[in-house]
Amino acid sequence: MSQEKLIEDMVREVLKSMTQAPQTSQAPSKAAVQGLTPDHDYPLAAKRPELLKTPTGKKLSDITLENVINGEVSPKDVSIAPETLRMQAEIADGVGRTQLANNLRRAAELTAIPDNRILEMYNALRPYRSTKEELFLIAEEMETKYNATLSAAYVREAAGVYERRKRLRAE
């Protein structure tokens, strides 16, 4: 579509909608892991490789082409461990990126949750997908089954906001 046509169509759409009815319209705790600092320890792979372990307990130096060919490396070996995410959160704090650090701490919790369940939980958080009770159940599952307390608080908070803003699924 040409730009000219796009603009024309938009103007028409806006005019049309104007004649119709109007539309209604806390930081988690940080537990220090290792006392890591950005200048001294980052990047971890180069400066602190001894701290890095795969979720299966392998070292970074175990992940070689030879070991892949011999079948000694599984997909689980090339994923991130929760401890690593918490270390990276410390680095992020060290450069003043509090929100990124907190995101990485929530991510550390989510490593325990299987892929499919993660996608289901994401879908449940979309607008009009869940009742308040359903979101609270997810929060409880996060807490009891996966020890994901930060994420659970985040979901409970969402439930409250969705209720106030009428974004819950209507029964």
């Binding site: 730009q3 796009l6 319209s25 806390q26 929100q99 991510a107 994401y122």
Partner: protein, 556 residues
């Protein structure tokens, strides 16, 4: 009326095929400074924001609540908000004020206050500020690699040429959705052929995109959209909390991720609430910051036709890019979708980001002919490679690309096509013939490629998913077929997700897979002689173009 011959000629000029519209604040058709933009304000009680930009907490929409609770630092907010907007703008262009000082001050500003700062600045001042505020010291660039046929051999070859030309990130998407696993696989191999360490992504709906990442076929994701009004957010089928959860989900799988937003999207979707495009976009940037995303792609992106149609729209686009860097986020600064028929206008628009340098100047530059761009043609594409290189040379500016020789391009294209041929054979996918390898090696675009059996390809692409093939299987297939250098590169890319070093702000990888990010390569610009300065080696690379005649070639 008798027509002026001069006006008749002007009417035929490319720029007059573009669309323009007068400002119309009531519906948000205004780039900056809408009379309906709120007055900046903040009230804090017991460590909580109880009023922001004239709205009391009980009336916050979900975006406002998210911003108030996650994006604004209440410990500095009152002090920052008390400052004069012009004084803040002056600090932005003052080389004696450090980036850190600005970042710490901006933590306490509301969206309306940020808007009021940009309203005082012209584009040269914004470019000066961008040069200082970009998070990573070294600027970079990103490209699109797609084609209308989803031809995987061509994607591999184009990816190889593009990574050799210097793109640190490459993005593909699909013409036919079910081809996605093959597009991602082909780009993975192509990217690692041109230059080890190139990061790749495949833009798809959230679930598939995340799954390809989890499998280790892609290395990062970008199309996590956020919006500036609650209605548009809901129309986009998300909330700040669902997107925040997705951000953590990506990180939990060790994948780099950034959000996407842009001026004009709210007007296009019909709920701008009479606010300026820039005000609404700044709310998006603050949502990205609040969610803890390391970065954001913005600069209107696919809505560029809208700000480009109104006065000061391209200035607003620069302001949104700048605002992203001030909130200490990586910025992939758009310069992607075509918005004009005029070569002059498209160049002027890009200089705003190219001259100061951003984390990714284009996001992306078409590494394919315009007609093969499945994101809808880019502002820059393969036919502009030499123009880009020569602008870099003319101005001694690092736009992230380098001139290459025809021989080098042919060699890496051929190698990538052969590597993909071998991997397809190894994994039992439909044959890639020698004729296809040859065609991809020398092709300009998908018109030069022999037809493939699309039905068979799509079936096999689904098999890639159902058989549970991961990045490790690709490593093995490459190693088994004499491409151990590429196998090493793909494995090194997979290893990034063990260390998570590239989850940090503005991370890219060098050819030896070392992470360069806004942690170990922080922008320290403080005026002439500081910040990013091109090395002699890099300048040699940029200035050495095949088109230049050498005095030594003359026989005098």
């Amino acid at each position: 009326m008798k027509r002026s011959k001069r006006f008749e000629v002007l009417a035929e000029r490319p720029v007059n095929q573009d669309g323009f519209v007068e400002e119309w604040p009531e519906v948000g058709m205004i780039a900056m400074g809408s009379p309906n933009d709120p007055e900046p304000s903040i009230k804090i009680e017991n460590g909580k924001i109880v009023e922001m930009d004239g709205v009391s907490r009980s009336n916050f929409d979900f975006i406002e609540q998210f911003i108030a609770d996650y994006a604004i630092d209440v410990t500095v907010a009152e002090k920052s908000m008390a400052m004069d907007s012009t004084d803040i703008a002056k600090m932005l262009v003052d080389i004696n004020v450090s980036r850190d000082e600005i970042v710490n001050l901006v933590r306490g500003l509301t969206a309306a206050k940020l808007v009021s700062v940009f309203n005082t600045m012209n584009v040269v001042e914004m470019m000066m500020a961008m040069q200082k505020m970009r998070a990573r010291k070294i600027p970079s660039n990103q490209c699109h690699i797609t084609n209308v046929k989803d031809n995987p051999v061509l994607i591999a070859a184009d990816g190889a040429e593009a990574s050799l030309r210097g793109f640190d990130e490459m993005e593909t998407t699909v013409a036919v959705v079910r081809y996605a696993p093959f597009n991602a696989l082909a780009l993975l191999i192509g990217g690692q052929t041109g230059r080890g360490g190139t990061l790749i992504q495949c833009a798809l709906e959230e679930a598939t995109e995340l799954e390809l990442g989890m499998r280790g076929i892609t290395a990062y994701a970008e199309t996590i959209s956020v919006y500036g009004t609650e209605n548009v957010f809901v129309d986009g089928d998300d909330t700040p909390w669902s997107k925040g959860f997705l951000a953590s989900a990506y990180a939990s799988r060790g994948l780099k991720m950034r959000f996407t937003s842009g001026t004009g999207s709210e007007v296009q979707m019909g709920y701008a609430e009479g606010k300026s495009m820039l005000y609404l976009e700044i709310r998006c940037i603050m949502v990205a910051r609040g969610a803890g995303a390391q970065g954001l792609q913005n600069g209107s992106v696919s809505c560029i036709g809208i700000p480009a149609a109104v006065p000061s729209g391209i200035r607003a686009v620069l302001a949104e890019n700048l605002c992203t860097t001030m909130l200490d986020l990586e910025v992939a600064s758009s310069n992607d979708q075509t918005f004009t028929h005029s070569d002059i206008r498209r160049t002027a628009r890009t200089l705003m980001q190219m001259l100061p340098g951003t984390d990714f100047i284009c996001s992306g530059f078409g590494g394919i002919p315009n007609a093969d761009n499945m994101f809808a043609g880019s502002n820059w594409d393969v036919d502009d490679y030499d123009d880009w290189n020569i602008i870099q040379r003319d101005l001694k500016v690092d736009g992230g690309l380098r001139p290459i020789s025809e021989e080098q391009a042919i060699a890496v294209r051929n190698k990538a096509a052969r590597a993909l041929q071998a991997v397809f054979k190894d994994l039992g996918f439909p044959e890639i013939t020698d004729e296809e390898v040859e065609a991809a090696t020398y092709a300009h675009g998908s018109n030069d490629m022999p037809e493939r059996n699309v039905v068979e390809d799509i079936k096999a692409a689904q098999e890639l998913m159902s058989r549970g093939i991961t990045g490790l299987d690709i490593v093995k297939a490459l190693a088994n077929n004499g491409f151990s250098d590429l196998a090493d590169n793909v494995l090194n890319l997979l290893k990034q997700r063990i260390s998570g070093d590239y989850l940090h702000t503005s991370a890219i990888l060098d050819k030896n897979f070392n992470v360069i990010s806004a942690v170990n390569s922080r922008n320290n610009y403080r005026g002439p002689g500081t910040g990013y300065r091109m090395s002699d080696e890099r300048w040699d690379e940029i200035k050495t173009i095949r088109q230049a005649i050498k005095p030594s070639d003359f026989d005098v």
